[in-house]
C-alpha cells in the first residue's frame, strides 16, 4: 500500500545549515556515490546519502538527532568522489555544528560562539572577568591579582595567583561539564529514538552497563585514531589531529598534577626544567603548537574542503593557546618579566575561552563523537 507522507520542511534549518558550510547541499542528486566512497560507512543504512536528502528537505530531526553524522570523521573521500560537487563531507560538518548548537544550553551562547562578529565580545568576557574579580578582591585586601609582582625570580603566581586562577577556572570547568551533561541527556535519548525509528537498532532500551562497556572498548580506538586513519583522501590529517589531541591530554594531566601537588603538598611552581612533569608539559605544548599549525596549513592548502569560521575558531584557538603557553615559559626563562606576565594573562584568556566555550564550539565533538561512537559500538553498527 502506498503510504502518504507529508514532508514539512524546516526552511530556516536549511538556510542555517547552508551558512554553516553546507552551501552546496542542494546540488545533491542522490546518486549515493558518497555512501560507497566513505571508508567507514556501514552496509546497513549507510551515510551520508540519507543525511544529504534529509537535510536538503529540511527534515531537521532526522539529521540533528542522527548519531551517524558523528561517525563521520570528515576525511573528504565522499567530497572528492561526489559527481555534483555537493561536498557531503562539508555538509555533515555543518550538520554537526548545528547539532552542537541544538544540544548546548543556552542556545544563544551557541549562536554567538559560531558568529565571527561576536568574537571580540566573547574574548572580552574573560578579560573583564579576571579584572573585576581581581580588583573586587583587592577591596578586601586580597591581592591575588598583583600588577607589580616583586622578587628576582619571575613567578607567574605572584602576578596572577593560583588561588585566583582556581577561583575562576574551576567553576568555569564545571560549568562546561554541566552544559555537556544537560546536552548529553537529550542527545543520548534522541539518537536512540532516531535509531529505533529508522531501524538502525532493535534494542528497545539502552542498558547502561552495556553502554559503558562499549564506551570502554571505543576509547582506545579513538586514541589510536583507528577510524580516522581509514580515510583515503586525507589520511595524513590523522597525524596532526593526534598531536593536538595528545597535546591537550598531556597538558590536562600536567595541570592536574600541578593542582594536586599544590593543594596536597603545598609545592608551588614553576617547576625545574629537570622535573619529568615539566618534560611532559613541554612535549605536550610543542605537540599542540605543531599539530595546530599543521591543521591550519592543511586547511589553507585544501582545495576541495571548505573551511568555515567554526573550523578556524578552533584551530586558531588551539594554536594561540599553545603559542602563548610556550612563550610564557620562554620569556620567563629569558627574564623578560613584564612581557612574560602580559603573555601569561593572554594565555589565561585563551584557556578560559577554551573551557567556557567548549560545549558550544566544534571542540564539543570530543564529547558527542565519543558518545555516538560508543552508541554505534553498543548497537553493533559497523
Amino acid at each position: 500500500m502506498t503510504e502518504t507522507y507529508m514532508v514539512e520542511p524546516d526552511l530556516e534549518f536549511i538556510k542555517e545549515v547552508g551558512l554553516l558550510g553546507a552551501e552546496d547541499l542542494k546540488k545533491c542528486y542522490q546518486c549515493a556515490t558518497c555512501s560507497v566512497a566513505c571508508p567507514i560507512s556501514p552496509d546497513h543504512k549507510p551515510f551520508p546519502r540519507k543525511e544529504m536528502i534529509a537535510a536538503s528537505w529540511g527534515m531537521k530531526d532526522q539529521v540533528v538527532k542522527n548519531a551517524d553524522i558523528w561517525l563521520c570523521h570528515n576525511c573528504g573521500d565522499c567530497t572528492t568522489r561526489c559527481p555534483r560537487e555537493a561536498k557531503p563531507g562539508d555538509v555533515l560538518a555543518a550538520l554537526r555544528t548545528y547539532a552542537i548548537q541544538e544540544y548546548a544550553v543556552p542556545k544563544k551562547l551557541g549562536k554567538m560562539v559560531n558568529d565571527p562578529k561576536k568574537l571580540p565580545m566573547l574574548l572580552a568576557v574573560p578579560v573583564v572577568l579576571f579584572l573585576v574579580v581581581g580588583i573586587f578582591l583587592k577591596i578586601f585586601g586580597i591581592h591575588w591579582l598583583n600588577f607589580s609582582p616583586s622578587g628576582e625570580e619571575i613567578v607567574h603566581a605572584k602576578f596572577f595567583s593560583t588561588w585566583l586562577v582556581d577561583l575562576i577556572f574551576i567553576p568555569t570547568f564545571f560549568f562546561a561539564i554541566g552544559v555537556f551533561v544537560l546536552g548529553l541527556k537529550r542527545f543520548v535519548g534522541d539518537i536512540h529514538e532516531e535509531a529505533l525509528k529508522s531501524g538502525k537498532t532493535d534494542k528497545k532500551k539502552i542498558d547502561p552497563k552495556g553502554f559503558i562497556e562499549a564506551l570502554v572498548r571505543v576509547i582506545p580506538e579513538i586514541l589510536k585514531h583507528k577510524k580516522f586513519s581509514q580515510c583515503g583522501e586525507n589520511a595524513d590529517r590523522a597525524t596532526s589531529h593526534m598531536m593536538v589531541l595528545y597535546g591537550f591530554i598531556g597538558l590536562f594531566i600536567v595541570t592536574n598534577i600541578f593542582f594536586i601537588t599544590l593543594y596536597v603538598f603545598g609545592i608551588h611552581g614553576p617547576y625545574s626544567q629537570l622535573n619529568p612533569v615539566k618534560w611532559l608539559a613541554n612535549i605536550a605544548g610543542v605537540a599542540l603548537v605543531i599539530g595546530a599549525a599543521l591543521m591550519i596549513k592543511d586547511r589553507l592548502t585544501a582545495t576541495e574542503q571548505t573551511s568555515t569560521y567554526k573550523d578556524w575558531f578552533l584551530v586558531v584557538l588551539a594554536l594561540l593557546l599553545g603559542v602563548t603557553g610556550m612563550l610564557t615559559e620562554m620569556t620567563r626563562l629569558g627574564g623578560a618579566a613584564g612581557l612574560s606576565y602580559t603573555i601569561y594573562f593572554i594565555h589565561l584568556v585563551f584557556v578560559w575561552a577554551l573551557f567556557a566555550y567548549v560545549p558550544y564550539s566544534k571542540l564539543a565533538h570530543l564529547v558527542y563523537r565519543t558518545v555516538a561512537m560508543a552508541y554505534a559500538e553498543y548497537t553493533e553498527r559497523s
Partner: protein, 425 residues
Amino acid sequence: MTVDKQAPASGSILVVGGGMAGLTTAIEAAEVGYEVFLVEKNPYLGGRVAQLNQYFPKLCPPTCGLEINFRRIKDNQNIKIFTMAEVENVSGSSGDYDVAVKLNPRYVNVNCTCCGECGEAVQTEIPSEFDFGMKRVKAAYLPFEMAFPARYVISPRIIGTEDAKRAKEACKYGAVDLDMEPKTINLNVGSVVWATGWEPYDASRIDNLGYGRYQNIITNMQMERLAAPNGPTKGKILCPADDKAPESVAFVQCAGSRDANHLPYCSYICCMASLKQATYVRAQYPEAKIYIFYIDIRTPGNRYEKFYQEIKADENIIFIKGKVAEVSENPDTRKITVTAENAVTGEKVHQAADLVVLATGMQPTAANFKLPADLKYNGDGFILNNFSKGGMFGAGCSAKPADVMTSNQQATGMALKAIQSVVNR
C-alpha cells in the same frame, strides 16, 4: 544595391564526418541539387552507427539504415567522397571558404574487388580499432563486411616491408598501389558542416570503476561489438577474461556522465543503450540475471518510455537505484563485485557479476581534438551553432549528445542551413 543578391563564390557544401549525421546532411543537400564534398577520416563511412549491433528501440540492425544511405550516395552524382581524409585548414567566410584536405594513402585503388587475397597473403596482425582492440586483423583488411567504399585498406605499419610486397603480389587485379603518397587538395566551398561526432568517454579515467584493471569490465560500445554478428566473438556475448558465457551481467549507468569529475552532462543515449543491451543478454542467455544500477533512468518520449516499461517487467532484469562507486575482482573466478547503495532501501549492495558493462557516455570529438576552423564551443567541447553568423555549423553529436533519430533530424536541419549560406540568404 545588388550586393545582397550577388552570386556566391562557391555553391558547394563541405561535410566533415561521414557518420550518420554527416551522411544525412550530405545526402539531403545533394538530393536538392547542391554539390557536396564528404570528408571522412576513417577508411569507411557509417561512423559509430556502423559499430552498433542493433538500434533502439526497434532492435533492428543498423546495416539496413546504412545500406539505404549508401545506395542514395551511389545514385547521386553531386556527392564526392574522400575517405581517410582530414580537414587541415579552413579560411574565408560564409559563402567562400578555402579548405585544405589531406588525403591519406589507402594503398588500394578502385580496382579492388574485395576478394581478400591480400589479407590472406600478409602475415602481420594489428588490433582492430573497429572492434576496440578486442580482435586482431591482418594488416591488409576490409574494415567490416559492409564497408563503404567496399575496398581493402593496407595499414601504413607494413609499408616498406616484405608483407606489403606479399599483398601486392597476391592481388590479381592490380589494386594494391604501394606508391600512394599523402596529398593535400584544396576545395572552395560556400558552407562547412562539421559532423565530427563523438568518442566513447575514456573509461580508464574513471579510476573507481576498474576499467582496464579487470578484464571482465567492458564498455557499452565494446558490448555492441561483442553482440554484433560481425564482431570479435561472432555475436556471442562472452566474458573477456575467460571466454565464459556470463550468468550475470551488471550495467553501471552514468559511468563518467553527469559527473563533475568527468562529463558533467547527461549523454542521453546510455540508458536506452543499456536497456537494449539487456535484451541482447536475455536473448542469448535466458537464465542470466541482469542488474542495472542507475541514478535515474532517462528514457525520454513515449516510445522509449514504453521500451523501459517492457524491460522493467522482465523479472530477470533487476533495477537498483544507486550509482556504482566501487568495484573489485575475485582473482580466482574473475567475477566482479560492484558496490552501490540502494537509495530506495538504504542498504549497500555488493553484487557479484560475471560481466560488468560500463555505460560510458559520449564526448564530442572536438573536446580532445581541436577542429581547424573558427568555431565556438561550449565548455564540454560541443559546437555552439551561430545561425545568424552562418557559414559553418555543427551537426549531430558534435553539437549535442543525441540518439540516431535526433541526430538525423538535426543534420537535416543543418543541410538547410548550409544551403541558405551557399545561396547567400
